[in-house]
Symmetry: C2
Subunit: 66 residues, 2 copies
């Protein structure tokens, strides 16, 4: 499941032409934390999923759609 979230996060961020720094700024999360999420190395929690979804302006379910 981490891979699905990682793949969707990378795609959604790239679609917006955002750097990881920009996503960190928009979400209030740490850039290195986001980098680990995008490499499937972080067991991200629902609260942080919500922050990222809000920053990207998508439904959280989108991050979990294979």
């Amino acid at each position: 499941m981490r891979d699905v979230v990682a793949k969707n996060l990378r795609r959604l961020r790239a679609d917006r032409g955002w750097s990881q720094e920009r996503l960190a700024l928009e979400s209030g999360l740490n850039r290195t934390y986001l980098s680990a999420v995008e490499r499937s190395e972080q067991n991200i929690s629902v609260d942080n999923i919500a922050r990222i979804a809000d920053a990207l302006n998508v439904e959280a379910a989108v991050l979990f759609t294979p």
Copy 2:
């Protein structure tokens, strides 16, 4: 977001006529942990979301759909 997951989890479990004990058995997670998730008191991680989705035989995205 915790509320969305909690509401969906309660509904999906009830649809199957499962007790929290049964879901704990099926998912390999602790019953009191699941009870906290269902009360929006647990910041559940993606690995445990995956375990619950597998146990309920649903896509994880379903748990995040408002």
